[in-house]
């Protein structure tokens, strides 16, 4: 197994820049290469990139592969269209935070009975529907999430109190009368919410 290839594999898999020390860390102590060896491997990899569509560059926190900017007009078209649909897990998480805020991730998981992926929390935060208000002073110091003004704005609410009260929610008939089973099909979680975050889950 070649040093260069192990480093290449690590850089491709990492999803974030890796420092020389981090790259050394993928080797067991007994055959850990020194900094120069890692450096040399990176140099070689950089040279191999010359004719390819990607480059291996150094940024503040280390090295990473990136697509050469000359290709961005094409590659960018991958993301042009199609907003994806949010999955069930995301909607439930949002609902629980809205009704039970301030809530920790653990509390959301407790109510849902399954793990909540980091991706979902991140998506909600990026959308600015949910923010961290602080950390609970219990072991692990979990973040406390609340909904934001933007959340209220998006749903045309003045205050949270305009959401149906919990007690009556169960009695409200929200379900459209027709096609109940088709709806269930549509609610199947949509692609991609979870894939990246695989590792965060614990098995059941």
């Amino acid at each position: 197994m070649e040093l260069k290839q192990i480093i290449e594999a690590s850089l491709f898999a990492a999803n974030e820049p890796l420092s020389i020390v981090e790259l050394q860390g993928v080797f067991l102590l007994e055959d850990r290469p020194d900094k120069h060896a890692v450096h040399d491997a990176i140099k070689q990899l950089q040279e191999e990139c010359l004719l390819r569509s990607i480059e291996l560059i150094e940024v503040a926190s280390g090295y990473r592969f990136q697509v050469k900017s000359t290709y961005s007009p094409w590659v960018a078209r991958l993301w042009e269209e199609k907003p994806v649909k949010y999955g069930r897990a995301l909607l439930e998480t949002l609902a629980i935070i809205a009704y039970q805020q301030p809530a920790t991730r653990g509390e959301v998981e407790e109510i849902r009975g399954v793990a909540v992926s980091t991706n979902i929390i991140r998506t909600l935060q990026e959308r600015e529907w949910v923010r961290v208000i602080g950390h609970k002073e219990v072991p692990g110091r979990p973040a406390l999430y609340v909904t934001t003004k933007e959340f209220l704005d998006y749903f045309n609410l003045q205050t949270l109190a305009e959401l149906p009260p919990l007690a009556s929610l169960l009695d409200i008939d929200l379900q459209p009368r027709t096609n109940v089973q088709l709806n269930l099909g549509d609610d199947a979680p949509t692609k991609k919410d979870t894939i990246q975050n695989e590792k965060k889950y614990s098995s059941t």
Binding site: A13, R88, E92, Q101, G113, E137, T159, L160, Q175
Partner: protein, 270 residues
Amino acid sequence: MDNTIDNVLPIQQSLALVEGKPYKDLPDDLYIPPDALEVFLETFEGPLDLLLYLIKHQNLDILDIPVLKITQQYIEYIELMQNLRMELAAEYLVMAAMLAEIKSKMLLPKKVDELDDEEDPRAELIRRLQEYERFKRAADDIDAMPRLYRDNYLATADLIVCKINKPVPDVELNAILLAFQDVLRRAEKFSHHQIQREPLSVRERMSTILLVLGDSAQEFLGFHSFFTVEEGKGGAVVTFLAILELSKEGLIDIIQGEPMSDVWLKPIID
């Protein structure tokens, strides 16, 4: 537990495996940690799994199970579990009954003319055992297949220049309410998840209070600063309920110098 040991002794085959060695008898002075057998039982995925284990372990032919022997062993396991007052899934008991039925059928003398059209009473059990075994193997096969984030990792390279503004999905409020209805229904079924029913105005106020406390440069803020005169009595009541709830959840400290004086709040979060 001591009087149960006697009932337990007649187990014939291995009672347990210790470092690979089957133990056939329980020494009189043996202390059984209360959860040891539970762990043992938990390693079985149900009665079929336990039966398969008993069969494989003794190199028995699955197509010609000695029903008497297996039934006896199985029932001894079950009795052992019950004597130790472990909670047994109902399926284990159903299987015990089924085995007992097969056993009794096989002991019953048959009239000659019945033999042709009545199948071996074991057939159904054997069919199920085989069926289960093949999927058990399939599960192992699937587990052994290379999969993402264990054996393979996506090879990606960032595209820096323009991370095109990706349109975000639209969501209707109804979709969220529906999702929450589902959560509630589920939670009601498993009623140990107690979902509290504070009015939302209280929940909202709780968030606001935490927000203001977090942003404030001062260590303490007065109770009165969390509602306005325009809100009237309602505002004061909601705020009061909110600080009680926050205090109950261990998120703030409530401090009052002396009776009837101002109430001060201090966040425990940061």
